[in-house]
Structure formats: C-alpha cells, structure tokens
C-alpha cells in the first residue's frame, strides 16, 4: 500500500533524480549528516574510552576548586548534542529547504 501513493509521480521523480542541482544538494546534505554524526559518535566514544582507561584524569580538579574536569566534559557533551542538532536544523531550514523547493518548483512539483 505504500507504493501506490505516488505512482503518477514517477516521471517527476526520474526528472528530479537526474537534475544535477538535486544530486549536488543531496550529496552536500548527506555529507553534513555524516560529518555531524561522526563528531557526536567520536565525542561519545572518546568520552567512554577516557572513562574506561583514565578515570583519574576526569577527576582532576579545575584550579583550586573541587569541580573536576569531568564535569564540564560531561555537561559539555550534553550541550554539544543540543548544539549540533540546532546547527543542523538551522542549516537545513536556511539552505536545504529553499534550494530543494526551488529545484522541485522547476520540475513543476
């Protein structure tokens, strides 16, 4: 039942799929997605590795206080996750959507 919805769109899909601007945009969007995924993935796995191999480092106090380096790192990871999603959404809203809309419009979608 999923397939029947847009059977009439087949020609449109073929035309859009062959449009160099579409190909370029999709590649750019995919690159952004993979890069951001890699960043958050690496940050988290790096954090876990640090915990597994060097707990003492995370426990070192900052300056003369009691707050350890681990606190800004852990909280920073949470903020990084929020910031990266924000970045992606802002970028997609500002650039991808408008460019895709323009491409679709040219094909009469």
């Amino acid at each position: 039942m999923t397939q029947e919805a847009g059977r009439t769109d087949e020609a449109l899909i073929a035309a859009v799929g062959a449009d160099p601007r579409y190909i370029e945009l999709v590649a750019r969007r995919a690159r952004l997605g993979w890069w951001l995924s890699a960043i958050i993935f690496a940050a988290f796995v790096g954090y876990l590795t640090l915990i597994a191999f060097d707990k003492a480092l995370l426990g070192m106090p900052i300056g003369d206080g009691v707050t350890s380096i681990g606190i800004p790192i852990g909280l920073g990871l949470i903020l990084l996750a929020i910031a990266l999603t924000g970045l992606y959404v802002a970028y997609a809203n500002r650039h991808h959507d408008a460019q895709m809309a323009a491409i679709l419009k040219d094909h009469g979608a």
């Binding site: 995924s37 993935f41 988290f44 876990l48 915990i51 206080g65 009691v66 949470i78 992606y88």
Partner: protein, 568 residues
C-alpha cells in the same frame, strides 16, 4: 570479577525508562503510609488526561487519526511528546539516586541516553517522515517485498515493546507501593486499565497529549527543585559541589575512615567511579544506548505524527533540547539531595539508609525544598510518567499487529480502515491484559535485563535494517528480513548468556558471555548479516529491490509523494 562487573553495571539500567528502576527497588519497596496529597494530584492528572482522551476519541475516526493523530501535531508539540516518551520515572529517580550515592557516574548515563538523538536526526528523521506513514516498517519495507520485512518489523516491535512493557508494569507497581501506599496488584491493574483507555479511545492524539502534559509537569517540577537547590548556593555550581564533597567526607569520617581516606571519599564523587570497569563493556553499553534510541518503535512512530520533514526535524531538536536540559537538572538535583537529604536524619532509617529505598532521593528532596504538597506533586508526576510511557509502547505494538501484520501481510493491503482499527483495538485490549498479568507474575523478578535487552534488540535489529534500507541501494528484501533477524537473535542470545541473566537471574554459574551488554557484537552482526545476505541474494526479487532504490531515494530526500498530514 565478571559477576562484580554485572553488579556494577546494573545501576546503569536504572537510566532506562522505569523498568530498571523497578529492579533496583526489588525487595526494598516497603509500603508507605497512604499519601493523600499525592493521590489527589494523581487523580487530577488522570482526570485531565481522560477528559482529553474523550475529546480525542470524538476526533478519532480513521486509521490515520488512530496511528498518527491525523499527522497534525506540530514539531514543538511532538518534540515535547518525544521527550515525554524518553524522560521516564527511572531517568528522574534513577539518575538522581545514582548521583546521590556515587556522584559523577550519574552523568555518564545521561550523556549515553542523549547522544542517540542527534544521530537519529542527522541520518534518519527527515527520510523517515518522507517515506513512512504509520509504523517504521513502512520505511523499512518501502521498496521491498512486504510480507517478510513487515513480519520482521512486527516481531521485533513486539519483542522490544514486551520487554519494555513488563518492566514498566513492575516498576509502576513498586513505585506506587512506595509513593502512594497502595498494594502492588492494585497499582498494576490501575496502570493497565488507564493505558487501555488512552489507547483504545484516544489513539495517538490522546497518547500524544498525555505525553506532552506529563513532560511539562516533569520539566516544571524538576526545574523548581534545581532552582531551589541552586538558590541555596548563590547559584554557584562550585559552591554546590564543594558542599557535597564536604558532606560525603564528613559522612565517611563519621563511619570511621581516617581523615585522608575521608577526604578522598568525598572527592570521589567528582570523578567516574566503579561503574565502568572494562573498555569492551563501556563501549558496548554506550552503543546500545546510542543506537537503540534510533530503533525504538514507539519513538520512531512519533515521526509520522507531524505534517512534513521540516516538522520532523524540529521535533528532534526540541526533544534533544528538553531531554538534555532535563538531564542537567537531574544532575543538580542529585547533588542537592546529597546535601539536603543526606544530612537530614528525618529522611533516613535507623541504619542510615534512605526511607523507602535508595531511589527515593529525589522524592525526599522534593519534600525538603517544597514541603508535603510538592512531595505529592512529584510523586504524582513520577507515576503519571509511567502511565504515559506505557501508553506509547502499547500503541506502537498495537500498530505493528494491525497495520503491519493484519492489514499488510495478512490482507495484503486490502483491509479497510474500520477492520484495521478493530484489530488494533483488540490488540490493545490483549496487550493491556497481558501486561497486567505479566506485571503480576514478574513482581519479584529481576527485570533489569529486560530493559537492556529492549535497547540491544532495537540497536541490533531495527537500527541496521532502517539505516541500510534507507542509505544502501544494494540492500534486498532477503537481506533486510533475515539480516535483521540475525541481529535480533544475536542480541537476544548473547543477553541470555550474559552475567546479568545467566548468573544473576538463573543462577547457572559463570556466564558463557562475559560482557553485560551485547551491542558491540550484535550491532555489527546485524549490519554484516544484512550486507552479506543482500550481496549473495541472486533472487529475482533482489533485482526489483535494487531497482527500486533510486525512486525511494528521491522520495526520501524530497518528500515527493509523502503521505500528507491528512489523507481523508
């Protein structure tokens, strides 16, 4: 050593929605005096949500209304509802309790639960919305032969949901005994009955609003607690931590430690403790959390309640923001509890442990900062939270049976909307009854492994199938259906052979599989199996599957032909 590791990792599970919390409670959930304020608050919440359910019922006519609220939920609303699905009583009570005892370790869980969301956004969210309609199987099976992939998705959904659901029910029973002073069986029956009412009559529309209200109450309550704690320390985190370290040192010294030892024990709450011992378990556990999030059927289903890909994107941003904010609050609440609850003899039993068990730290803190009324409020919110999560789970399982198995596999897409709805309602009734029954049967069981299993299954089965069907043109029907099944089975079998189940639950001696989380093996197993089977697939269907990729890709990227907000 292995057994010790399993024990050390057990609290991790606490993070996950209510179930694990239940495990932590086992054996120590004494009944409390009946808490009338909390019960009044809870009745008010239930009254409000039932009223909403009634309003939603009047507008639930088609399958689209039932499964996806007609697709008319905004990104902001859906983000709150997703956060509501995710911020369980366990993450609230469990993480704050973990911080209360061990300090820093609580933060590790929080980060693990959050990092799956960005990945879900970057790789899947928009494509999910553009290709899907009611269930994630719509997406996973888009260009494939329907019966095999739908059957896989339905079985996987039922498995993931069942383990989650049982654990939630047990958690609800234990929690209610603690918070309201009602008997366990009464609690389980109340949860089962309310969940059926929400889903049966209000469908996704009511379920979404229950989630939103609960999310707002929980965020509001937690914000108030964190503010009250910070206000006592001039809004200085350093001052808060310094006082917490001093409290822990003093406690250690009072327990007979030398001054040097006591100082070290105090400072220990600022560093990672014993919870992650070996790197394999650490990474494996992190993988299950991160990738499991992007494979949970009830979370994935929420992507179809919004009108388009743009709103789907915003949903994840809001969800990530709220959940992250909530975890930061929980961190402050945990440290606040060390100081305000840990030093107050009124919250402790004669032997120095917390009244009501270790997970009550946040509940006692609510009393310390807001008196009896606020205690009642937080107790009611904690319980409402379980109700909301259970309703979301049930809806996703009912959809898998009615939409994937009945309408698509059995009736081959020729079922009418009314019949499909009837099947989903019968399924809901059956699931509700089953959930209550299993909740009663498993009262005394260790349910922690069920939650870790739910996350591992989602990460090893659903996640690889979704990613490869979305992003790899070479994926075939056979690869998705069988490869996904292999991923699921690997996670399932390895979990059974792990210390938490083999040794702790069944008492069969040293576990054949030494790690507490299977994900580091089962997630690659899922990916490799799908890849290998697809590559070796020479069937005529494989050619069709591969030929279907370019068109699927364009639809996924552009939204051409996507199911509109309202299809009727």
């Amino acid at each position: 050593m292995r057994a010790r590791l399993a024990g050390a990792l057990a609290p991790v599970l606490v993070l996950m929605p209510a179930p694990a919390f239940a495990a932590a409670l086992e054996g120590e959930a004494q009944r409390q005096p009946i808490n009338w304020v909390a019960i009044a608050m809870f009745v008010a919440f239930v009254g409000l949500t039932l009223w909403i359910t009634k309003a939603a019922a009047a507008r639930t006519r088609t399958a689209s209304d039932f499964y996806t609220a007609g697709g008319g939920i905004s990104g902001f609303q859906n983000g709150l509802a997703m956060a509501g699905d995710y911020m369980s009583a366990a993450s609230f009570l469990g993480i704050s309790a973990q911080i209360f005892t061990d300090g820093y370790d609580g933060l590790i869980y929080s980060t693990g639960f959050l990092v799956g969301w960005p990945i879900l956004l970057f790789l899947m969210a928009e494509r999910l919305r553009n290709l899907g309609r009611f269930t994630f199987a719509d997406v996973a099976s888009y260009r494939f032969a329907q019966p095999p992939v739908r059957s896989f998705a339905a079985v996987s959904t039922l498995l993931v949901v069942s383990f989650y659901l049982i654990a939630q029910m047990v958690g609800a029973g234990q929690l209610i005994k603690l918070l309201f002073g009602l008997p366990y069986a009464v609690a389980v029956v109340i949860v089962g009955a309310l969940m059926m009412l929400y889903v049966l009559f209000g469908g996704m529309r009511a379920t979404t609003w229950v989630q939103i209200i609960k999310a707002v109450l929980l965020l509001g309550g937690a914000s108030f607690m964190a503010l009250m704690v910070l206000a006592q320390f001039g809004f200085s985190l350093e001052a808060l931590f310094a006082r917490a370290v001093a409290v822990k040192s003093a406690a250690a010294q009072a327990a007979g430690a030398t001054p040097a030892d006591a100082a070290a024990k105090g400072r220990a709450i600022m560093a990672p403790g014993g919870f992650i011992k070996d790197p394999v378990s650490a990474i494996s556990f992190g993988l299950a959390l991160m990738l499991g999030t992007a494979g949970l059927p009830h979370i994935l289903m929420r992507f179809f309640t919004v009108p388009d890909a743009k709103e789907a994107r915003k949903s994840v941003l809001w969800a990530t923001g709220w959940i992250g904010y909530f975890y930061i609050l929980t961190f402050i609440i945990g440290f606040g509890a060390i100081i305000l609850v840990g030093t107050d003899a009124g919250y402790k039993m004669a032997d120095g442990t917390l009244r009501g068990g270790g997970n009550m730290a946040a509940i006692h803190l609510a009393h310390a900062v807001g008196g009896n009324a606020f205690l009642g409020f937080i107790s009611a919110v904690a319980f409402a939270t379980i109700l909301a999560v259970v309703a979301g789970l049930t809806l996703s399982a009912a959809s898998a049976v009615s939409h994937d198995l009945y309408a698509t596999v059995l009736k081959q897409g020729r079922a009418n909307s009314a019949d499909e709805l009837r099947v989903s309602r019968i399924t809901t009734l059956a699931l509700g009854a089953l959930a209550v029954l299993l909740g009663l049967v498993f009262e005394k069981q260790n349910v922690a492994f069920m939650v870790s299993l739910a996350f591992a299954l989602a990460a090893s089965g659903n996640f690889p199938v979704l990613i490869l069907s979305l992003l790899w043109s070479g994926c075939t029907t056979r690869g998705a259906a069988w490869g996904g099944t292999i991923g699921l089975l690997t996670a399932f079998v390895l979990t059974l052979l792990s210390p938490a189940v083999w040794t702790t639950t069944f008492g069969l001696g040293p576990a054949p599989f030494p790690y507490s989380s299977a994900a580091i093996f089962s997630v690659p197993a899922g990916f490799i199996a799908i890849w290998l089977i697809s590559r070796l697939d020479r069937s005529p269907r494989a050619a069709v599957d591969k030929a279907g990729y370019p068109a699927q890709r364009v639809r996924a990227e552009t939204g051409i032909g996507a199911f509109a907000a309202s299809d009727h």
